[in-house]
């Protein structure tokens, strides 16, 4: 597990470099939440999910499925997909550019492997994930559906409609994750929408809940192992990953300022000194 953890750390460090370089080149995008969920998605795609580029299809049959509900987290999503081999790493340089497959928010209309559903308008991906999980039950397909939400996103009412639905329909093949970084565009989640005891909320909706450090690979993998053990429990699982927005670069961490703002070239260069190039940057 130690060696594996080191490998994951190398990947997520490169993913963070990708995020900063993509957003800097595009002069727009969402680095903050991408950095806070980089370790979660690295573990998910490189260790946890039964899904790979050779077998990937949009219908997700006989394999695990991932839905990005917080659709603005495309920098981390595209980087992880590219690093996992879904499409060429150098395509990351086209992010948000005219004609790209790497749209600002995920699109299913660009033939980009790995993208199962459009997202961007918040609060909707959990419902779509529940629908796929329900179809898997109907098809006697034993694989699971994973979905990543933001904590700010959980202010959307539809999240709680979906929470009620998934518990009522016993979707224990659904594993939801929250990037619980405590930040959103206009400030801290606490200042914008009041303090949110997300664990109590999800529990009260009948979900299994797991709380874990979203930047510690031992904790992340342990949380996923616990979620795995809850298959057959008759209830869906929410893993609340405690994270820091902007994690990995000191001047970006712990603030909402970098939710949807691109670094300057100078700031990008400064960030690169804090993140080792472990797997080779995308070119140019």
């Amino acid at each position: 597990m130690t060696a594996n953890k080191e490998t994951l750390k190398k990947i997520s460090t490169q993913v963070r470099r990708d995020i900063i370089r993509m957003v800097t080149r595009a002069k727009s995008g969402h680095p903050g939440g991408s950095m806070s969920s980089a370790d979660i998605l690295t573990a998910l795609f490189f260790q946890v999910m039964d899904q790979d580029p050779a077998r990937w299809t949009r219908d997700g049959r006989d394999q695990d499925v991932f839905i990005l509900s917080a659709g603005h987290l495309t920098p981390v999503y595209y980087s992880v997909l590219a690093r996992a081999g879904y499409f060429p790493v150098n395509e990351l340089g086209t992010f948000r550019k005219m004609g790209t497959r790497l749209q600002g928010h995920p699109s299913v209309r660009r033939d980009l492997p790995g993208i199962t559903q459009a997202s961007g308008s918040l609060g909707q991906g959990l419902s779509a994930a529940a629908g796929i999980a329900l179809a898997k039950k109907l098809n006697a397909d034993p694989k699971r559906v994973f979905v990543l939400c933001g904590d700010g996103e959980c202010e959307e009412g539809q999240i709680w409609e979906a929470a009620q639905f998934a518990a009522h329909h016993g979707l224990d093949n659904l594993v939801a994750m929250t990037d619980w970084n405590g930040q959103q565009i206009d400030g801290t989640v606490e200042s914008v929408a009041g303090s949110a005891d997300l664990e109590a909320k999800w529990k009260s909706f009948g979900w299994n809940t797991i709380v874990a450090d979203g930047h510690d690979f031992d904790a992340i993998l342990e949380a996923f192992a616990k979620a795995d053990a809850l298959r057959g429990s008759g209830l869906p699982v929410m893993i609340l990953f405690k994270t820091d927005m902007g994690n990995g670069v000191d001047f970006m961490a712990g603030t909402c300022k970098w939710h949807g703002k691109a670094p300057s070239e100078e700031q990008c260069a400064e960030a690169m000194t804090q993140l080792e190039e472990t797997l080779g940057d995308f070119q140019p």
Partner: protein
């Protein structure tokens, strides 16, 4: 003029229920979802025969749209059913992202559409839904005219690959089309041939248009009646062919003027074959409580108003 006989009043939503059951028997991928309106949407028979393929979503329409999109991604053919307002205006963004932009094979079954919903009043009487759905890229918009056609259209929607908005209504209305006729998406049906004016009607107003044509025949006015069962994509060839013959068009629909079938045909004619045109629609108003027939008369949507509109163009 061609004679149509009302075989007995039936609600178009029951045509949907019958079509859903028949389609469900033919294709096990079909799933029915509702937001606490199983009975109103006439899904009872489907739910009884296929309990595992009937999904009760509770009063949570936004989630229902997303769940349907997920089912469609995984290869199912979901029909989501609720009142027209609650599966369009209430969930427009969800339909836009999850169904239209997401290009998922979801069928939106929209009942109690228009003013003929009746006594519940304006909150439930949407007359803006066609405009909303027409504006979405790739969305097919179908508004059949009676029980038989709604049943056939439901079966056609199930077989079609892609998002469909299927609009029908609450009250019993004359059932007059051929029960054995198949339904072709995108095809306009010439119900009566005429030479002086064309009435393009959709939904409940097709019967009213035929009644108007019959009355006008007594006055020596020959009216062509075309059933625009598919509003999008519009059968432009059929519309243009008819107006080239008659030179005059009346468009009748149970909908607001903005964004409806009338504007769609007006735009086509303005571009391809300018002709005199009159609207029979709900204008730019909200509805109110009343019986369906009282409301049709009060809002100018019955045969008498269609006939008056034709006279205005011919005279």
């Amino acid at each position: 003029m061609k004679k149509y006989t009302d075989s007995g009043k039936k609600d178009t939503r029951s045509g949907f229920g019958a079509g859903l059951l028949e389609a469900g028997r033919a294709d096990e991928r079909i799933i029915a979802l509702t937001a606490d309106l199983k009975g109103s949407l006439k899904m009872d028979a489907f739910a009884a025969e296929f309990p595992e393929r009937f999904i009760q979503c509770g009063i949570a329409e936004a989630n229902m749209v997303g769940v349907a999109a997920g089912l469609a991604i995984a290869g199912k053919i979901p029909f989501i059913g609720s009142f027209a307002e609650f599966v369009t205006g209430r969930v427009y963004d969800q339909i836009r992202q999850e169904v239209s932009y997401g290009n998922t094979n979801v069928k939106i079954a929209s009942s109690h559409a228009g003013i003929t919903l009746g006594e519940d009043g304006a909150t439930h009487q949407t007359m803006e839904d066609i405009a909303l759905m027409r504006a979405l890229p790739g969305m097919v918009v179908i508004n059949p005219c009676d029980y038989n056609q709604t049943k056939a259209a439901t079966i056609a929607a199930a077989r079609y690959e892609g998002p469909v908005y299927l609009r029908f209504g609450r009250p019993g209305v004359p059932n007059f089309t051929d029960p054995d006729a198949s339904f072709e998406i995108g095809k306009a049906y010439v119900m009566n041939e005429g030479s002086d004016a064309t009435v393009f009607a959709t939904g409940h107003l097709v019967w009213e248009a035929l009644q108007a044509a019959e009355a006008l025949e007594q006055e020596g006015i020959s009216v062509e009646v075309v059933d625009i069962a598919t509003i999008k994509p519009l059968d432009e060839g059929a519309v243009l062919a008819s107006v080239r013959k008659t030179g005059r068009a009346v468009v009748a629909e149970e909908h607001n003027r903005a964004g409806g079938l009338g504007e769609s045909i007006a735009a086509l004619l303005a571009e391809k074959f300018p002709a005199r045109l009159a609207y029979v629609n709900g204008m730019d108003r909200f509805g109110q409580s009343g019986t369906p027939s009282e409301l049709m008369a009060a809002y100018g949507l019955d045969a008498a108003h269609i006939a008056e509109a034709v006279r205005g163009l011919v005279g």
